[in-house]
C-alpha cells in the first residue's frame, strides 16, 4: 500500500551500457540502516539514478530521524 514513489519517466540512460533506465527495487544503505526503495536503474549493469528529491529531500528527513537523540 505504498503511496509514494521515486519512479518517473526520465531521459537519462546509462552512460556505459547505453540502456534506458528502468524501475528497479534496490536496497539503500544509509546511517547503519537499510531501506527498500524503487529507483530508476540500468537493467544491464545495475547503476542507479538517485534523483535530486531523494538526495536532498527525503534523505534529510530520514537523517533527522536516524540521528541518535
Amino acid at each position: 500500500m505504498k503511496t509514494f514513489s521515486f519512479i518517473e519517466a526520465t531521459s537519462w540512460q546509462c552512460a556505459g551500457c547505453k540502456e534506458p533506465l528502468q524501475p528497479t527495487k534496490v536496497n539503500v544503505s544509509y546511517l547503519n540502516s537499510v531501506f527498500n526503495v524503487e529507483l530508476m536503474a540500468c537493467p544491464q549493469c545495475g547503476v542507479i539514478l538517485v534523483p535530486e528529491k531523494l538526495a536532498v529531500g527525503k534523505m534529510l528527513e530520514v537523517e533527522q530521524l536516524l540521528e541518535d537523540k
Partner: protein, 227 residues
C-alpha cells in the same frame, strides 16, 4: 507492507530472531497477545511447529488471522483479562501491544498467570527514553502516545512475579521503520494521515520526530515453583 508483513519495528524478522534465542520446543503452546492479523501465528505454526493461540479484542483482526493461520486457536479478549486457564502456555508473546493494553501491570500479571513454570514471556514494544518528556500527541490509542519509560516496564515485570529477565535495546528498528515509512509514503505525516485527521497526523508526526522514543525486547522466564 513496509515491514514485510506486520506494521511494527523489526516485523516478523524480529519475531524469528527472538524464537531463535528462546528455542521453544516443537509443539509448545504459545499465546500471542494482540495477535492482530496473524503474521506471528502463521510464523510460529509453519516455521517453528508450535501450537499458537491468538488473542485480540478485534473481531475483524481475528477473522484475518483465521485466514492467515488456519491452524491457530483464536480468542477474542483483552490482555488485562486473558480468557485462558492458569498454567496454559509454555510461551507468551506480546509484540508492540503492551503499552496499548491500558494497564501494563495487570496485563503482565495475566501473562504470568497463564504461563507454566519455566515458561517464557516475550515482550517487544516502544518505550519513552526520558520519562520527563511528554509529547504533544492527539488522544489516540497508539503505542506511541502510551509509551512508558523502561523503568516502568521493569517494575511491572518484577511485580508480576518474574524474577529474571533479559532486556535488549532495539531502537534502531524503530528508526529503520520510520525511515522506510518516509520512503514508502513520502513523509511520516502522510503515513499518519491514513489513520487520522490532518491536524492529529501533523502533531503525531512532530512528536515522533522530536520525542526520544526507543524500542525494546524483553525476555523473562517464569521460575519453577520453589526454584
Amino acid at each position: 507492507m513496509v515491514t514485510g508483513g506486520p506494521l511494527r519495528p523489526g516485523g516478523v524478522a524480529l519475531t524469528a530472531e527472538i524464537m531463535d534465542i528462546c528455542r521453544p520446543g516443537r509443539g509448545s503452546a504459545v499465546l500471542d497477545v494482540g495477535c492482530g492479523p496473524g503474521h506471528t501465528l502463521a510464523l510460529l505454526a509453519s516455521k517453528y511447529k508450535l501450537r499458537p493461540t491468538g488473542l485480540d479484542p478485534s473481531a475483524s483482526m481475528l477473522a484475518r488471522a483465521a485466514t492467515r493461520a488456519p491452524g491457530a486457536r483464536l480468542l477474542q479478549g483483552r490482555a488485562t483479562a486473558i480468557p485462558c486457564g492458569q498454567l496454559s502456555f509454555e510461551m507468551v508473546i506480546a509484540e508492540c501491544v503492551l503499552s496499548l493494553t491500558g494497564d501494563i501491570e495487570m496485563s503482565l500479571g495475566e501473562m504470568y498467570t497463564v504461563l507454566r513454570p519455566g515458561g517464557v514471556l516475550v515482550v517487544t514494544d516502544i518505550y519513552k527514553k526520558r520519562s520527563e518528556i511528554s509529547a504533544d500527541l492527539p488522544d489516540i490509542n497508539s503505542c506511541i502516545s502510551h509509551a512508558r519509560p523502561l523503568t516502568d516496564i521493569e517494575k511491572g515485570v518484577a511485580a508480576a512475579g518474574f524474577k529474571e529477565y533479559r532486556l535488549f535495546d532495539r531502537s534502531e528498528l524503530l528508526r529503520q521503520l520510520a525511515g522506510q515509512i518516509i520512503f514508502d509514503y513520502g513523509s511520516l505525516e502522510k503515513f499518519w494521515q491514513l489513520f487520522m485527521a490532518e491536524e492529529a497526523a501533523r502533531r503525531t508526526c512532530c512528536a515522533v520526530t522530536a520525542a526520544p522514543l526507543g524500542y525494546y525486547v524483553l525476555i523473562a522466564e517464569k521460575g519453577a515453583p520453589y526454584g
